[in-house]
């Protein structure tokens, strides 16, 4: 539109900045388009200059190509549930004195209350300590190896504490050949992963080790084809799950697929009944399954030179860490944030711990908060209307590389879930990934007290951008 075309058209302004100018425009009868703008990179000149370097056409072209490769791997990944095994036998690098935890690396001293509670509980469960006090001393002694799940092809929900004799899912990405692991849902809210560690928690872990895990494992041995988890996930989204905070449909589909094989095992009817009752006691049974599905896909996209696609988002209750395809195993961290959302009756925000768990791998893949529009039943979690929930999923398009045609959202005309978070776009737009998650009590032993949404700290993305700029554009 030339200047003279402008003079002969209606003025249609966009107001980027001071709202008082928009007020004056409205007073004169114009209808300004409004912005909710934030400075790129949080306004930090060093970040903006790094972003500028990555935006140079010849650099941007290299990055775009690498990101397309990362995206195509995420979309092509076909995670299959192949079976269940005990961590010591399956998870790479697992030892009897290793405790895996969620999020980026962290020392015992810096762990939050719930994670410490889970660690000590696990040490008692493993028979490495006779009681919680002794477990605390052992944890501080240096004899225990603490390591992030993510560095062992694994993920763990909430505290993510995984020890040698726990049973884990074995999920193979049949397109790329990599395998990923995660432990089993403990279901009820007073559980190890939320830092609870009394005898009832240990008793449940024992039953899971002695009955639940073996039943599931034997069942899957009878299923030689494995279970196509991406297909099942896609169905669950069409049934109203977003596969992070709502897992009603996914759990039903998963146990439906497992049930015939469970029946065929040699366990007693009482034991089988216990398994079905346990699965039925909480919709969360399939939650870890979708996490490990996402992990198997995201690991395939890691390590692509020049790619700015995020392959890990994980929190340990103290730090929030991300990893990026083009920088491999390197963690970029910032402080874990408070989760905002409705809480169970009797609790207030002052009771809540900080954001924790590897479950943000679901958002990294494109489900969870990114697929909010698929789950109108839980919009109350984000404190808004169904229309706003639709908006959340669409907003995530602004920071992702593409959409996943294999996992779609019916209400958005079957838009594929937004996939391949691009560090550049996060920094440029100031839009942080939206994560749906649970709220754990800040003290160990109490468990889940609510659910809501949280965003990563921008610092993690800023550090990642600086490192990417150093590697790619200098």
């Amino acid at each position: 539109m030339s200047v003279n075309d402008l003079f002969s058209s209606d003025l249609k302004p966009v107001n980027l900045g001071l709202d008082m100018f928009a007020d004056d425009l409205r007073a004169q009868g114009a209808t300004p388009v409004l912005m909710d703008w934030t400075p790129p990179g949080g306004g930090d000149p060093e970040i903006i200059s790094a972003l500028g370097r990555l935006e140079r056409p010849e650099i941007a072209e290299k990055i775009d190509a690498a990101n397309q490769e990362a995206l195509s791997r995420i979309l092509a990944a076909q995670p299959f549930l192949d079976g269940f095994g005990q961590a010591i036998d399956t998870v790479p690098g697992m030892t009897k004195t290793t405790i895996l935890h969620s999020g980026p690396p962290i020392t015992w001293e810096r762990m939050c209350g719930p994670m410490k509670g889970a660690v000590t509980g696990a040490l008692v469960f493993e028979g490495l300590a006779k009681d919680l006090d002794e477990a605390g001393e052992l944890a501080a002694s240096g004899e225990i190896t603490f390591s992030p799940c993510h560095e062992h092809q694994s993920v763990g929900s909430m505290a993510g504490v995984t020890s040698a004799s726990m049973w884990v899912h074995k999920v193979t990405n049949r397109t790329h050949g990599n395998t990923a692991y995660t432990n089993l849902s403990e279901q009820l809210s007073k559980i190890l992963r939320f830092g609870a560690n009394d005898q009832s928690v240990i008793d449940r872990l024992n039953w899971m080790r002695d009955v639940f895990g073996p039943v599931l494992s034997e069942a899957m041995k009878l299923n030689e084809d494995g279970l196509d988890l991406r297909l099942m996930l896609s169905q669950a989204l069409h049934m109203g799950d977003e596969a992070h905070n709502r897992n009603v449909a996914g759990t039903t589909l998963l146990i439906q697929a497992l049930a015939p094989y469970i029946l065929e095992t040699d366990f007693t009817t009482k034991e089988k009944r216990e398994v079905f009752d346990f699965v039925a006691s909480s919709d969360y049974f399939s939650g870890p399954t979708w996490m490990v599905t996402a992990k198997a896909a995201m690991d395939a996209a890691n390590g692509i030179e020049n790619s700015t696609v995020v392959t890990t988002m994980a929190r340990n209750g103290v730090d929030f860490g991300i990893r990026v395809s083009g920088t491999g195993g390197q963690w970029f961290t910032g402080p874990a944030q408070q989760v905002v959302g409705p809480m169970f009756a009797g609790y207030t925000p002052a009771d809540s711990g900080l954001d924790m768990g590897d479950s943000a791998i679901t958002e990294t893949y494109g489900i969870g908060g990114f697929a909010m529009a698929a789950a109108p039943a839980i919009v109350a979690l984000v404190g808004g209307t169904v229309q706003e929930a639709m908006g959340y999923s669409k907003t995530m398009n602004a920071i992702t590389t593409g959409n996943n045609p294999n996992v779609t959202i019916p209400a958005l005309d079957f838009m594929g879930v937004p996939s391949g978070i691009d560090v550049r776009k996060v920094i440029e737009t100031g839009i942080l990934p939206l994560i749906n998650t649970a709220i754990a009590h800040k003290d160990p032993g109490i468990g889940m007290i609510g659910a809501g949404i949280v965003h990563p700290p921008v610092e993690a993305f800023q550090q990642a951008l600086l490192e990417l700029s150093r590697r790619i554009a200098q």
């Binding site: 003279n4 003079f7 302004p13 409004l34 909710d36 409705p342």
Partner: protein, 515 residues
Amino acid sequence: MTRHIDIRKNTYLDSVSLMSMSTKANALEGVSQAFIAMATPMNKEVLANLNITDPAIEAAKPSDLMIIVDAADDQLDNAISGVEDILARKNSGGADAAAVRYRTLDGAFEEAADTNLVIISVNGAFAAREARKALNAGKHVMIFSDNVSVEDEVELKTLAHEKGLLVMGPDCGTAIINGTGLAFANAVRRGSIGIVGASGTGSQEVSVRVHDFGGGVSQLIGTGGRDLSTEVGGISMIDGIRALDADPETKVILVVSKPPAEEVADKVLAVAGAASKPVIVTFLGSTRTESGYDNVKLVSGTKPAAAAAVIASGVDESTLDMHPLNLPLIAEVQAKLAPEQKYVRGLFCGGTLCDEAMFAALAKYDNVYSNIQKDPSYTMGATDASKEHTYLDMGDDDFTDGRPHPMIDPSLRLQRLVQEADDPEVGVIAMDFIVGFGSHEDPVGVTIPAIKEAKAKAEARGQHLEILGYVLGTDLDTPAVEDQIAQLEAAGVTIASSSTNLGLLAREFVAKGNN
């Protein structure tokens, strides 16, 4: 404190909605605690742990809804009705379409494709980046932000020129496009005079004078104060003149600028000379008198420039009220001032208004100090004490660092006004008051107490302190210019009728003491 317990049989709500409702209910005024939950064993246990027990709670089944509200006795009814509203979900309306806000310009353009101009007033460090995006999307741009580098300015204007788009700014305070004022602007009649201004308040001033003389404005294009520098080369000014030349609604083009670089002035005048319409040019403080082109008239001062444009647009010269200088008034004020009251202190919001008044003073006096003086030996900073004749542009960067422009926040100018009144050598304090879109809603009203204090200080030592005010605005502005003038007159302030007259009157009021 009263407890309200309501058990609703066979009323199911999902746990997520209930958590959300509980959270909202706890935020209600007067509520000390509220629970809305299904009567599951777990929820009943939570209540028991908090010592909330009741036979009705005990008897409730998991399919029943429990509503428990603790509130101050006199607020219980309100609290219960608030909880009812939450349960009825009365607050869940559809999103207000008008309230949609976009995070990125790309997002805005995608959804609102027919937008044609972007007004950018974000921090200058980010403005160029956004302007580039807007231009690349084919949108015209007004950059209100300052602190944009000259390199970015040249790049943006070159890009815009190649695309046939307009870049107004950076540091462009005013524009009127298709009759709509952008940023700081005055409500003026539409008409046939097209204005291109490289100075914000200078452009506002000529638009107001045009309106006052009975003329009207077709378009007012701002260019930003640096457009006529050697580096930028007048790219926006030249494109603006050409656009107005091609605009059928525009009959006369009026150009206003602070002194341009000489070679840029030549270039701009050549473009004006090639136009098919009369062009009136005022380069404030320039000594040029001849344009060299028949259709281009160089005029000194904003008021004469506006008058020339209005006459060229066809308004009968004899109908113009030229507001000549009131010579008896000058003599009257001179008589009131003591011999030692030799100096003018000008405290300005408008940069061009300060310039115009300062140039008027410089035509008569040498000892004129200012933060915008070009001569380094007469330059002073924001924190320096005033000296002899001092004209301060308080909207300039050294005064606005970290605070809003004085057109929005006059507090710094109020302090300075009272401070100047301490100097017994001061005869006149000259001030501008700018009303209209973007400006403070009552710039005069907020200054009156400081005016009274300043006058009282002088009076206490037996002096008359002359305060000279000029209100830039029109009868169509909010607040109307007449109301502002009436307030000033009631406080004993002498009124100048234009920026040009403000400078001349201030200079003449102290002329006796300087002879």
